[in-house]
Amino acid sequence: NDCYSQSYPQLYEPGQRSLYFSKGAFIKCALHSCYSSLVLFFVPYAAVRDSVSTDGHDIADHQSFALLTQTCLTVTVCVQLGLDLSYWTAVNHLFVWGSLGMYFLVTFTMQSDGLHRLYASSFPFVGTAHNSLDQVTVWLTVLLTAVLCVLPVVVHRFLFMQLNPTINDKAQPPPPRRRARIRRSSTRCSGYAFSYAYGYGDLVTSKRFLRRPVPLRSAGSTPAGRSAAFRPAGRSAGYSPSGQ
């Protein structure tokens, strides 16, 4: 939050150095996607191949397999999202669990008998959710897929946090103190993180960022000069975020 950002200005260095938006980051993301895609198809494939349901009926048919893969994907995405969300308010809880619940609600509605009786050709998946989502193996497959997809991410993050902690990890306070603190200090500091402390007024009216002496202009017409001072590749001369 803003109080914490003021005490640790080095937190802005990774962004200025493009640490999170580089070719290395892209390749890592692509590898993770490839691995997740392979897991999300081949685990359900192997789980229902040559298998049948608990009363001997089909479970490896086109529609059930599609539903199984889709459910694996939705649950895995929600778990991964939960891992990435670092600030869980009531709104976050509502939208994450609500998404999952909405998925099941819409699936059961679209595959219900009533809609099929109205428009038979448009809702051919009638009965699929009812017949396949009451199988134990289907839910065990979903659980296995979610764990397999999320496990490497957790291991990778934890390992790097232990061996090579970034500035973001080092600046984390221990959790129990943090939880108590966020409630008490909420009246003092708002959650909106200001990236500057005092605004640009005194910067602009002083002539510090101008390279050559120019005639005094009004405050509203110096956009070019301001962007020159705001080079993303490192600190510019004479300007520091703490407003000195």
């Binding site: 009926h57 193996t137 065990l140 959650g191």
Partner: protein, 369 residues
């Protein structure tokens, strides 16, 4: 950009009446309400990955997954399954002659003997399996008319365009239309138990309850009217090109299994997801809790070999299988759970060692302030 910072300064308490829409003096403040929701101060939970949360989680996952995996593996091993390939590709196979000759009029018969080593308890399910048969081809999956199969009379005589080229035959509409219905599996399988003295007894095969309830009662309906005499209902239609008999003669003895609601037809119309699949054909019901349903011994499978698979290098199989709480025999889930559980446990140990040796380096005192 300058305007936004000017407004930001305003929020700190400097009120300027000229910014509001109401004009100077009566300017409505643009400042948001000082509620927790609008100032983004809602109470929040901030989970972070510490050793205290990650390591117990790994050990917990390991301890939960390994017993589940063992349970699944043991259950799968206890399921009895027997597979018999009767395509007749090898010259020594009893069905070799049938596989080489394919004639439209004559049905070839062959008989394959086999032996069951172990008894099959409780209900035994008989499946037919096909290999290299891509029921999941996109154009094939779409080649059906669900409205016609639902008993809608408008589509009985005017099937959907998706069924092309299996929509009309000699200007008569085909019922049921489409490529899926046209390729209906039409082998008949009969099972006989052979006593040690050589006499055979037929094993009773039940042909109902093999399709999903929703399929039989909701998705597939015969067109209304004349339920006892489906010949009249379907009189303006003709049977699919590859069928020997029309749809109202699929099971004339039982009106509840005739026409579109024939269970073998329904099971076939539920397209499979993979090129090697099995579909439920018959059920052998258990007699009582003392005698096994299929005792160990010699058996014979009598086949009316109608379905040609050699043209696409396919294979036909008959499978006998028992069922458990996890379904059919599939050791993959059990092995996967045991593997993932062990890997998790091992990773937990490794991470604990790493944390013990290299962790505790991260502390606030290290950051120059």
């Amino acid at each position: 950009m300058m305007a936004s910072s000017y407004n930001a300064k305003e929020e700190d308490g400097h009120h300027s009446g000229s910014v509001g829409p109401g004009g100077p003096g009566t300017g409505k403040s643009k400042k948001p309400d000082n509620t927790a929701f609008k100032q983004q101060r809602l109470p929040a939970w901030q989970p972070i990955l510490t050793a205290g949360t990650v390591l117990p989680a790994f050990f917990a996952i390991g301890l939960i997954f390994i017993p589940i995996g063992i349970g699944l593996f043991v259950t799968s091993n206890n399921i009895r399954e027997f597979e018999l390939d009767y395509t007749g590709v090898e010259m020594s196979s009893p069905c070799f002659n049938c596989s080489q000759t394919y004639s439209w009029n004559n049905s070839c018969r062959c008989s394959v003997p086999f032996t069951l080593e172990q008894p099959f308890e409780s209900n035994v399910f008989m499946y037919y399996g096909l290999s290299n048969f891509y029921q999941n081809h996109r154009r094939y999956v779409k080649s059906r008319d669900d409205s016609q199969l639902n008993g809608d009379k408008r589509f009985l005589t005017n099937p959907s365009k998706e069924c092309e080229p299996y929509r009309m035959n000699d200007k008569m509409p085909i019922a049921p239309c489409g490529a899926i219905a046209n390729s209906l599996f039409n082998d008949t399988l009969e099972l006989y138990y052979v006593y040690p003295n050589g006499t055979k007894t037929a094993i009773h095969l039940v042909k109902t309850d093999i399709a999903w309830w929703t399929d039989k009662h909701v998705k597939f309906r015969n067109p209304a009217g004349n339920n006892d005499n489906l010949t009249i209902t379907f009189q303006e239609t003709t049977n699919p090109i590859n069928w020997h008999k029309p749809v109202y003669e699929l099971d004339p003895t039982e009106p509840d299994n005739n026409g579109f609601i024939n269970e073998d037809f329904i099971v076939w119309m539920r397209t499979a997801a993979l090129p090697t699949f099995r579909k439920l054909h018959r059920i052998i019901q258990k007699k009582d809790s003392l005698t096994p349903t299929l005792p160990p011994g010699n058996y014979t499978l009598d086949i009316a070999y109608n379905y040609p698979v050699r043209s696409f290098d396919g294979r036909k199989r008959m499978i006998l299988s028992t069922i458990s709480w996890m379904g059919g025999k599939n050791p993959f889930l059990g092995i996967a759970y045991i593997t993932v559980g062990s890997v998790c446990f091992f990773l937990g140990v490794v991470l604990l060692v790493i944390h013990h040796k290299y962790g505790n380096r991260s502390s606030n005192a290290e950051i120059p302030n």
